[in-house]
Each structure stands twice: as C-alpha cells, then as structure tokens.
C-alpha cells in the first residue's frame, strides 16, 4: 500500500475540514478525488504532502509517517500558484533539481516545450493558464512514487487540456500512482481507475471506476451529480 489513512481529522477553528477520513491508495493506479469546493480534498492532499498536520487520526506513506522521507517520494501540486515571484521558468527547474533527487531536468525541458513555455519567462508575468502549466511541468518532471494534483486543469483552456492530460497519463507506471482532484469529472471519467467521492470531509463513496459504474449503473459524472446535487 502506498498511502494509508485512518480516521483522519483536521479542524480549523470550529470547522472540520477533514472528518474521520479513511482511505488507501495502491500502487499503479489513477485516482479521481471528487467533491465540490470545501469538501476536504485539498486539506487531505496537503496532509499527505506534509504541509498540514492532522488534528487526529493516522496517515502513513509506505508504512512510515509523513515527513522528510515521504516528501522525497511524493510530488504535490497545489491548485494555487506557489513559485517565488523573482523566479524565471528556468529558476523553477533549478530549484526542483536542487531539492528533489527524483527531478529530471530533461523531462522538465520536454514538458516545457509541450506546454509552450519559455525558460526565460518570469513566473510573475505568466498568465494563469501558463502558470498552471508550469506547476504541472515542475511536478511531473519528478519521478515520484505518488503524484497528487489538485485541480490540474484549472485555468487551462479546452484545447490544451488533452495535451495536459496526455502528459499526466504518460507519467504513470506500475510503481507509481496519481491522485487527481478536479471538478471536471467528465475529463477524468475516461482515464481514472478509481474514484473517491469526498463529502463533508469524509469518504462518501469509493471504489474502482468500473465497479462503481457497474454497481450503480451510472457514469461517474452521473454519480457526482447524484451525490452533490
């Protein structure tokens, strides 16, 4: 098992962002983490990335607590832009190369080319679409065991989405997994192996995509509408 969570809780003031969340992530699979804004998807990902400490419950990556070792093997891409403003696209690559042993500069260059980004561009001058592509390029250029992409298609135009999805899918192998959170369920429907529906901070429904479709006789999009409408 790659990631195991049991009874995970995170509270902010009186609000429970994650509420008794338990789930397992296996190797070699693509997971869709589905739910509306505020359902707890981002907080869960941040806990798994080591950016947020849970209030209670347990979470383990490859059997060990989240920490320095897990950060070496987990690539997290947040939905918000997070690069330093002084950086150029080239600086971002150098930064990742400095800190992540699994970072592949050649793959980064390839991804930049595919995403039509120039190494000379300054991060703060990028449009929201290009900034989103840069985050993806930096994250996917790592050869990580687990990728967690929070709303990777946000800000990316409909033409570029296919290219971005192809780049994401190229990253996955038998030894690594990917968790993608997105509101664009129809974009994920075709590619994911598993779906996790999050509601009020906990897992409402989870399972293999095929199994869910067969059991409920509905597509993931229809299930999404039924759960959250």
């Amino acid at each position: 098992m790659l990631l195991e969570c049991n009874g995970l809780v995170k509270t902010y003031m009186s609000k429970r962002a994650v509420d008794n969340l338990s789930l397992n992530i296996e190797r070699g699979r693509i997971y869709a983490l589905l739910g509306p804004n505020g359902s707890g998807k981002t907080t869960f990902m941040k806990i798994a990335a080591g950016l947020v400490k849970p209030t209670s419950g347990s979470i383990a990556f490859c059997g060990n607590n989240i920490g320095v070792e897990s950060k070496k093997k987990v690539a997290y891409m947040s939905t918000e832009p997070f690069f330093y403003n002084y950086m150029t696209v080239e600086d971002v690559g150098k930064y990742y190369q400095d800190f992540f042993e699994d970072f592949d500069m050649k793959r980064y260059d390839d991804l930049l080319e595919k995403m039509e980004l120039s190494k000379k561009d300054h991060v703060k001058t990028l449009s929201s679409g290009l900034a989103a592509k840069l985050k993806l390029a930096a994250t996917l250029a790592r050869k990580s065991e687990l990728y967690m992409l929070d709303e990777p298609l946000n800000g990316i135009d409909i033409i570029a989405r296919d290219r971005v999805m192809t780049a994401i899918l190229e990253t996955i192998g038998n030894e690594n997994s990917i968790i993608i959170s997105s509101h664009l369920v129809d974009e994920l429907e075709k590619v994911v192996d598993n779906a996790i529906f999050i509601k009020n901070g906990g897992v409402y429904l989870a399972g293999g995509a095929e199994e869910l479709r067969a059991t409920h006789k509905k597509s993931l999009v229809e299930l999404y509408k039924e759960i959250y409408a």
């Binding site: 509270t11 902010y12 003031m13 941040k46 990335a49 080591g50 950016l51 947020v52 400490k53 920490g67 320095v68 070792e69 950060k71 070496k72 997290y76 947040s78 918000e80 832009p81 997070f82 690069f83 330093y84 403003n85 002084y86 930064y95 400095d98 800190f99 992540f100």
Partner: protein, 250 residues
C-alpha cells in the same frame, strides 16, 4: 542546508543591492568632500551614512522577519515546506542566513566608518587631538578604556542581540501559526508574547551581569551579554523548529 540558505539569501538579495548602491553613493559624496576640502559635504555625508546604517540594519532584520512571515502565511510557503527537510533544517537555514546578513552588513558598515575615520585622521591631524581628548574623558570620568578589542566586542554584542531579536520574532510568528492558529486575535497575542519575552530577557541579562560572582568591567559585561544572546538565539531557534515540527499547517 546550504541550498536552503542559498535561496534564503536570493530572496533578500535585491534589497542588499539597493543598500550597497546607497552606501556607495554616500561614500562617493564623503570622499568628494574630503578631496575638495568641503567640510559641510563631509559632515552631511557622514551624518546621512550614520542614519542610513541604522536604518539599513533595522531593515535587514525586518526583512528577515517579513520573509519568514510570508513563508508561513503565503502560498509560497509550499516551496519551502515541500522540500525534504525537517523544520529544524529549514529554520536553521533562515537563522544562519539572517545571521550572515546581519554580521556581514555590520562588518561592511564598520569597514566604511573605519575607512572614513582613517581618511579624516590622515587629512586632519587636529581630529587626533579630539579623539585623544574623548579617550581620556571616558577613561578618567567613566573608567572605560576604549580600545579596539572593546569596540569589536561591543559591535559583536549588538549584532548578536539583533539576531536574537529576529529569532524571537520567528518564535512569536510561529506561535501564532501553530499553537494559536485556531485562536482569535492570535497576531496580537503573539506580538504581546514577543514584547514580554524581550522584557523578561533584558531583565535576566541585567540580573546576570550584576551578579557578584560575575567579574565586573565593560569587557566582561559585553562578553556575558554575547553569551546570553547566543543562548537566547539557540533556545528560540529550537522552540520555533519544534513548534513547526509538531504543528505546522501552511
């Protein structure tokens, strides 16, 4: 840690460039006054450089604190906390890079004033008499024998106390984002804690330096202050990193 320090210094490099340019301009004005024998220009340049030095040292400390605050409060914090390093290494890199900046800036400004002073003494021998008079006044009236060693120690104590103020501010900011994160008025509470800790530490410092067992004299007082401020820096660093390790949520 060196890589973390490299990026810490890079984040604050622009302001250092501006400080260097302004200090160089001040020096250019001073030396033009010296060469042209314009006393008003020299006086103005030295006066402005003195004010600028104090302002620059304050700004360097302030910028270190603001950078740390932004690294905890803004999304750019991910750049730091996603890296595979413990909070002890991350905060350690910040403390060391702040310390290096403060000490290097102190040395540079010290050097500037030493060069200016030497140039003045070389050109106007009458200043030597004023220097000797002040020296004697301090020695007779206050029993303070101002020599190079004492001056260096005093500057070092000042710089280390400045570094300890930065780490104390780190501690307060961390407190507001960790143990006080879910409390209302956390920023105000942490600021009050900062002031209280500063006050408590100055009291401890006064008590220790006036203890009968401690040898008296300016040299010893300064050395003890340096030791106390170093201990305070170490304690606040460890407490900050511990809180981040246990509670950080960025």
């Amino acid at each position: 840690m060196l890589k973390l320090m490299k990026y810490e210094l890079r984040k604050q490099a622009f302001s250092k460039l501006i400080i260097i340019i302004i200090a160089a301009l001040g020096e250019a004005v001073f030396f033009s006054g010296l060469l042209l024998d314009k006393h008003d220009t020299m006086g103005l340049a030295i006066g402005l450089l003195t004010i600028f030095t104090m302002g620059a040292m304050f700004f360097i400390a302030f910028e270190s604190i603001i950078t740390y605050y932004n690294d905890l409060k803004q999304k750019q914090s991910y750049m730091l906390f996603l890296t595979p390093h413990t909070p002890y290494t991350i905060v350690g890199a910040k403390v060391l890079s702040s310390g290096i900046q403060i000490i290097l800036s102190g040395l540079v400004f010290g050097l500037i004033f030493a060069v200016d002073g030497a140039a003045l003494l070389a050109k106007y021998s009458s200043i030597n008499e004023i220097k000797d008079f002040l020296h004697e006044l301090l020695s007779v009236q206050f029993h303070i024998d101002v020599d190079g060693k004492l001056l260096v120690l005093a500057v070092l104590a000042l710089l280390i106390s400045w570094i300890s103020t930065i780490t104390l501010a780190y501690l307060s900011i961390t407190l507001s984002t960790t143990f006080l994160a879910n409390k209302r008025g956390k920023a105000l509470i942490s600021f009050i804690i900062f002031l209280i800790l500063e006050y408590i530490f100055s009291k401890i410092s006064d008590i220790v330096t006036s203890m009968p067992a401690i040898p008296q004299g300016p040299d010893f007082t300064i050395i003890i202050s340096i030791v106390l401020y170093t201990v305070l820096t170490a304690i606040t660093y460890l407490a900050t990193a511990w809180m981040l390790d246990k509670k950080v949520s960025v």
